[in-house]
Symmetry: C2
Subunit: 467 residues, 2 copies
């Protein structure tokens, strides 16, 4: 039995960041992880998906190469090399995390951990041995989440016809046709990837719009862009029946009171994730979970049992890597006796990396209405932005919602090229309770996409210049 | 004779913005411009150059398409369609400015203006007529700047062998070989473009490094990237002799005490610009110029003669479109009786759009040393950034220089993918006198390039996580 100040169960972006930061503050730390390091983010999520999206982006650029004076021969798009490249990038990042643990002297205990009383963990290692480790200061639950099918709708994941996002990341060829159920970030990103590689994609969403948590204007703009690219978008669409055959799936979809049956090779279930709370000993210890199945924590990440903490996807709030990492960092600072700012869950940016990209922070216009806030909307289209015109990517806009009285930034919503980068000046501004005037003070470089942010800000003040 | 509250001489980014904002504040305004609207920026600078850089970017992506599973067949690169696309984007932007003037009821007086006493301008129109217009409130000089050759070095522009950046924007094919004299932003951008389209490029700079106004570390990294792409970089290089022939140019270049003669098809002179102060009536009116040939102004943009103002390139300081636009906006607010923040010339971002991109704001490390400031450097390489890895663009870094005592951001320097966008959170932060801690407060989305900014900030506080 080995003892550490802090033991983290789970080597994803919440867990490994927490362990590294603890070690940097002089605590001894270990991470228990049975798979490769990096968690869903590095192995089955953000990183490999973005690598595939880059391939999709290149595919779409290559199709337009003639505009730039570039003549190609006949084009062919093969998913296998893109998938292999994506796996290589994923592995490189996982190795990177391993390097960081070593550099910071964090132990990696390879195996499956079960929480025990007295801040102990029993670990079953790969070769079947069972070890027990003890945390002197804190035992941190960071077991993350996993894909879940929709068995109640006849879409139980089978790895053959009914696929998860994990499955499609390792396909060696693109299907001729694919129905994607769920048009959140994951569904929209894979719609983009498979469309770029030549698959006939049908995107099915029960809510009345794509990316239902984003601002309505953004959803509309994305739907327009997807339709232009021949993605068959079905919103307010209910699954009425599913028949899984040997070579394909029949889906009956009801839209506007009309039912239609679609025949597709595969279905990707991109709806929802489940927190990993099973089989890790929560019940034995009496660690409480919420109604929605997350580990229940307070603002100090403490669970209902002293000495046990939880962070990341398993602890609720936004299931996003950067939210988890920040929690890991803040918890480590608390454990290490450093001053720590609490996590501001109202200022976590949300990003979708399809083309055009989508990024937002703060309240949607709908939320402002529901909260009866007085607000002014400022908007600027990328079609009027010089930099967007030079790159030919003019779909989308920046939308800023400012408080009518004080000018505070209630919310910011961007759909367009590099949205996921240019959102950050607004994230920094909101984190520090800036008004729109304070964004306007900064001279934005010309010609940049970020000028669209500056113009949306001007528009929210009634001073629009360039449209 | 027509009278306006405000007359602006010159329809570039300083002038047209000033006129539009004046009109929005209820003043009558006119712009005198003999060429298309938009100035150097739209017609001969930022916009067409960025359009060509996009073509170069696509060319480089297409060359690597196989990595993404995309088979292209044989590739051919033809500059003419890229040039034509660039001209079309330029024209579209110019028409956009025309639309904005109309929308805001700003008159466009087409012709060449000469300043006269009594806030009058004499305009010679295209058809040879001469009109006089009077400004009731302000006459604004915004005549911009132009390319200048280096006749003292034997490089007088001739439009045939010795070319300006204006000339290369309308070439209909790429030369086999090109020497670029001057490795500032313009020189580096065209080195990128012509290299991507297959020209043998030699980049000659008399200073000891590329982009001499940027941080030294950035210059080194760019030189490394350019050499990798087979751009022949010569720094600390002096031109000793130039022989212009019918089909090419012989250049004798001295480097480290050794002289070498290069034979090239064309030379692009990318060194310096001259303010347009000639032939506009300054002498007659007694409007003073500075030793360096700019119109002399005070902090209210007033020249030495009451009622005459100057903004943009002709008024000195950074010769950048966004600096000029801001001056135009601020002057208009002053003329319109609005509260106006003075222009903070120490917080104007500088951007170069070659690959990798370069962007900076504030002081270089060298300037901090010269000013004997106590500082700490934080740095993060894109090779350790997940998003950069997914797109395969891992050259470069973010470098933050923070004040040792108070944590203020003395300077920020980025070389890497989308540097010109991700600089903006730092521009906003500096404009509002933020410390690095205030940038760290903002949760940066994962996986984004902007995370490299957050990590460089952490590094400057001694808390680096991901490298």
């Amino acid at each position: 039995m080995a003892a550490y100040d802090v033991i983290v169960l789970g080597g994803g972006p919440a867990g490994y960041v927490c362990a590294i930061r603890c070690a940097q503050l002089g605590l001894t730390a270990a991470v228990i992880e049975r798979e490769a390091l990096g968690g869903t983010c590095v192995i089955w999520g953000c990183i490999p998906a973005k690598a595939l999206l880059e391939s999709a982006h290149v595919a779409n650029k290559v199709r337009k190469a003639a505009e730039h004076g570039i003549t190609t021969g006949e084009l062919a798009f093969d998913y296998a090399p893109a998938m292999k490249r994506s796996r290589a990038v994923s592995q490189q990042n996982s190795k990177g995390v391993e390097f960081l643990l070593k550099k910071n002297k964090v132990a990696w205990i390879r195996g499956t951990g079960t929480l025990k009383a007295g801040k102990r963990v029993e670990v079953k290692t790969e070769d079947g041995k069972v070890e027990t480790h003890e945390a002197k200061k804190a035992l941190v639950i960071a077991t993350g989440s996993r894909v879940k099918g929709l068995p109640q709708a006849g879409l139980a994941l089978d790895g053959k016809r009914i696929l998860s996002s994990d499955d499609v990341l390792v396909l060696d060829k693109t299907p001729k046709s694919l129905a994607i159920v769920g048009a959140g970030a994951v569904g929209c990103e894979f719609a983009d990837v498979f469309n770029a590689f030549g698959t006939e994609v049908t995107l099915i969403e029960v809510a009345p719009r794509l990316l239902p948590i984003e601002d309505e204007d953004v959803s509309k703009e994305l739907q327009r862009a997807f339709k232009k690219r021949k993605i068959d978008v079905r919103v307010s669409a209910k699954l009425q029946g599913v028949k899984v055959g040997k070579t394909g799936v029949s889906l009956t979809v009801e839209e506007n009171g009309k039912a239609e049956t679609l025949e597709v090779e595969h279905v990707l279930v991109a709806a929802g994730r489940a927190p990993n709370i099973e089989g890790i000993g929560l019940e034995t210890l009496g660690i409480k979970t919420t109604d929605r199945g997350f580990v229940k924590i307070n603002e100090k990440f403490e669970t209902s049992v002293p000495g046990y903490y939880a962070i990341g996807d398993v602890a609720g709030n936004q299931m996003l890597a950067h939210k988890g990492s920040r929690e890991g960092h803040v918890l480590a600072d608390m454990l290490g006796g450093e001053h720590a700012h609490p996590v501001d869950y109202g200022n976590i940016p949300s990003c979708t990396y399809c083309s055009p990209e989508v990024a937002s922070v703060g309240l949607t216009e709908q939320a402002c209405k529901e909260q009866k806030l007085e607000y002014v909307v400022g908007k600027f289209p990328f079609s009027a932005n010089g930099r967007a015109r030079t790159s030919g990517e003019t779909d989308g806009f920046v939308k800023i919602i400012r408080g009518k009285k004080h000018g505070e930034i209630l919310g910011a919503h961007i759909i367009g090229p590099n949205a996921t980068e240019i959102i950050h000046e607004l994230v920094v501004a909101r984190a520090n309770e800036f008004t729109v005037e304070e964004i306007d003070l900064a001279v934005h470089a010309h010609p940049t996409l970020s000028e669209a942010v500056a113009e949306a800000v001007l528009d929210s003040m009634g001073k629009l210049l360039h449209a």
